[in-house]
């Protein structure tokens, strides 16, 4: 992979065309600059020329995503994500862009979107050449009433998600924005974890991290309570929420503010107290519940009743992902060794999974969106229906 800045900007770090005083320098410093540049620019051009940019797939505040294909083989498609750089580099590259490049360069796994190349274009922007995932995302499937799917399909999707998340955690990376519209679908049906704009490495012990991550409906209680030190358990909660949403086809806990999110979580799973979650009252944004309204922790029956499609074993897995206390929540590894995967029905083969046409525009929009955002309009109605 190679990226090279266009020559216009090189003056900052390269010599200017001002002859050195008193020297008999026949070559201007600028020529030398070009000589030096040649190789890297050449490499960058080679990369850029490998691909042909086609139509725009989507656009967001952060990036424009276009369809592209290999020049040598037009049947091989890619998605080219062009990162919008702040006007005149005012504030440097955003953390989103930095994180995305940083992690995708290192992580390679069938359930994580692949970064094929990076190059810079003439207008001084970074272009990420990403795997092309034409079948939209899980959100589209969930919301499309014309699509029927069952337990075996959910098991297949969840299995792919769990493997992707496990791989991130195994490599000490937290994704921090798992939700259905970040789970893109490849042409062969494989689910891929995308959008690493909020990802970061596990922090060293005692080092604080921000709690302002993960789209609200998928955000775990410890983050809502303002925890600054947390683990892979935050992603596991989000996975649990995706799992629940796949089963009931509406977001399971959809608060319309952070406070509302907490109260909806309490209603759904029980009120966090020092008894069921030792130490929770010490978290910065914790507030003691009204004694009259303490809801006891939900047991297995609740999950079995609420999510009949999953079957008792599936409900057990879901429950382990939705433990309020992050220390009691399953890890990605434990999830993968759960007995649900080997219980009937077997997961659907990825080629046979339900699919939907017209996913490309969705991919474009998904990838261009700023992280941590949800298209508010989309779920408005769904949220209103949800009062339990």
């Amino acid at each position: 992979m190679a990226v090279s800045p266009p020559s216009t900007m090189l003056s900052t770090i390269q010599s200017r065309d001002i002859p050195f005083q008193g020297s008999a320098n026949a070559r201007s410093p600028l020529t030398m600059t070009h000589a030096d540049r040649e190789l890297t620019e050449q490499l960058n051009d080679d990369v850029r020329r490998k691909y042909v940019k086609d139509k725009k797939l989507g656009e967001g505040t952060y990036a424009v995503v276009s369809l592209g294909y290999l020049k040598t083989d037009p049947s091989v498609f890619v998605a080219i994500k062009k990162i919008k750089v702040n006007a005149e580099y005012k504030d440097g590259l955003t953390m989103d862009a930095i994180r995305e490049v940083k992690y995708l360069q290192e992580l390679s796994h069938p359930n994580i979107i692949a970064l094929h190349d990076v190059f810079s274009s003439k207008d001084q922007t970074l272009n990420l050449v990403l795997e092309y995932l034409p079948r939209g995302d899980l959100e589209m499937l969930i919301k499309d009433g014309n699509i029927q799917y069952g337990a075996a399909d959910v098991k297949a999707w969840m299995g792919m998600l769990a493997r992707g998340v496990w791989f991130c955690h195994e490599n000490f990376v937290l994704h921090r924005d798992i939700k259905p519209n970040n789970l893109l679908i490849a042409s062969d049906g494989e689910v891929k974890l995308a959008d690493f704009g909020l990802a970061r490495s596990f922090a060293d012990p005692y080092l604080n991290m921000t709690h302002q991550v993960i789209t609200r409906w998928y955000r775990p209680p410890e983050l809502l309570y303002g925890a600054r030190q947390y683990s892979g358990a935050v992603d596991v909660w989000s996975m649990g929420m995706v799992f629940a949403e796949l089963l009931i086809r509406v977001p399971f806990v959809a608060g319309n503010s952070d406070l509302d999110q907490i109260s909806k979580i309490c209603e759904a799973f029980g009120t966090p107290t020092d008894d069921n979650w030792p130490g929770v009252s010490k978290l910065p944004n914790y507030f003691p519940p009204d004694r009259a309204h303490i809801i006891p922790l939900q047991g297995r029956d609740f999950f079995v009743r609420q999510f009949p499609t999953a079957g008792p074993v599936g409900a057990d897995l879901l429950m382990s992902m939705c433990a309020l206390d992050p220390r009691k929540r399953s890890t990605a590894r434990q999830i993968l060794s759960h007995s649900w995967w080997s219980t009937e029905p077997k997961p659907t083969k990825k080629e046979d999974l339900p699919k939907k046409a017209g996913g490309t525009k969705k991919m474009g929009d998904d990838m261009g969106r700023r992280v941590g955002q949800v298209d508010d309009g989309l779920f408005k109605n769904a949220a209103r229906q949800l009062h339990f």
Partner: protein, 315 residues
């Protein structure tokens, strides 16, 4: 640290052989022999000491993590394997590497703040007599740093994650029951290895093991580390006694050294660490401490200032 070192871009793309590194630098020199003649610069390691000290100053003013400074130093090394230092404004490269490394190590600093601090730290005005015009090493235009960030990322092929030996050190502390003094000493040896080419030549675990050996074997009375001169370790390492022990590392079941060291030797023999590499790293560090004696901040500052001013690289 994130992701797995063995499949990392660091191991796949940024690990050089000694010959490879010499070759890369020789090619840079070949391309512009004239500049090399006109603008002599001190030994690379002395320059590194200067860069390191400047970065530390910059970092101190903004209370940054050690790891970000380490990452910045690796970025600078990588950048200068592809770019002739005499064509750059090292102060801008330093500030940018610092700014980017802070973002990478999750302790971001605002670009304006970095530029402001860098300007305060490196005022160019004292050199008016050379150029007959007052100039700053870093302009107040933050966009310059933004542009340079883009160039830095590009030159590093967007491969930004750097694995450091610090973590290996922390992991091995309980296993080898290292005392806190030994850990502190090994830690500062790791800090010092950024002054050499070692981060481009060896994987981080080899460096960590080397640092532990030095800490345990040489165990110099630890006074204040990092003054202006080479650390006291230099003397301890030069007197040779320790080198014999090192030599014994290669032979299994060496007898003679005290039990504490024997235990370490035993552990290393059983581990699959490349002992030859560890010894080479140790030697590299010994020669660093020798070169250190010639270090003069003033010389480095003047020579770099001359390059930047004469070629108008500060624009």
């Amino acid at each position: 640290m994130a992701a797995n070192y063995w499949v990392s871009t660091q191991r796949r793309h940024w690990l050089f052989s000694r010959e490879g590194l010499v070759d890369v630098r020789e090619k840079l020199r070949e391309k512009d022999k004239l500049s090399h003649t006109q603008f002599p610069l001190p030994d690379q390691r002395l320059l590194n000491i200067y860069f390191n000290q400047q970065l530390t100053k910059l970092g101190k003013r903004m209370s940054t993590r050690q790891q970000a400074l380490a990452t910045a130093q690796v970025y600078i090394k990588r950048f200068y394997t592809k770019n002739e230092i005499r064509h750059t404004n090292p102060y801008l490269v330093l500030s940018t590497a610092f700014y980017l490394a802070c973002k990478m190590e999750e302790c971001p600093q605002h670009i304006r703040f970095v530029v402001g601090e860098a300007r305060g730290l490196w005022p160019g005005k004292s050199d008016v007599r050379i150029t007959k015009r007052p100039v700053d090493f870093i302009t107040s235009d933050v966009a310059k740093l933004g542009e340079c960030e883009f160039a830095l990322i590009s030159e590093m092929n967007s491969q930004l994650i750097v694995h450091h030996p610090y973590r290996t050190l922390s992991e091995l502390q309980p296993e080898l029951s290292l005392t806190s003094d030994e850990v502190a000493l090994a830690w500062s040896v790791i800090n010092d290895h950024y002054l050499t080419d070692l981060p481009l030549l060896y994987p981080p675990h080899v460096i960590a093991v080397m640092a532990i050996i030095i800490a345990v074997v040489f165990k110099p009375s630890q006074t204040s580390f990092h003054g202006s001169g080479p650390p006291p370790l230099a003397g301890a390492m030069r007197d040779g006694a320790g080198m014999n022990i090192l030599a014994a590392l290669g032979e299994k079941g060496a007898s003679g050294p005290p039990p504490r060291i024997q235990k370490l030797v035993g552990w290393i023999a059983e581990s699959e660490v490349d002992i030859k590499a560890v010894i080479e790293c140790t030697q590299e560090l010994v020669s660093l401490y020798e070169v250190w004696e010639q270090y003069s901040e003033k010389t480095c500052k003047e020579l770099i200032g001359r390059v930047v001013k004469s070629k108008n690289l500060d624009k």
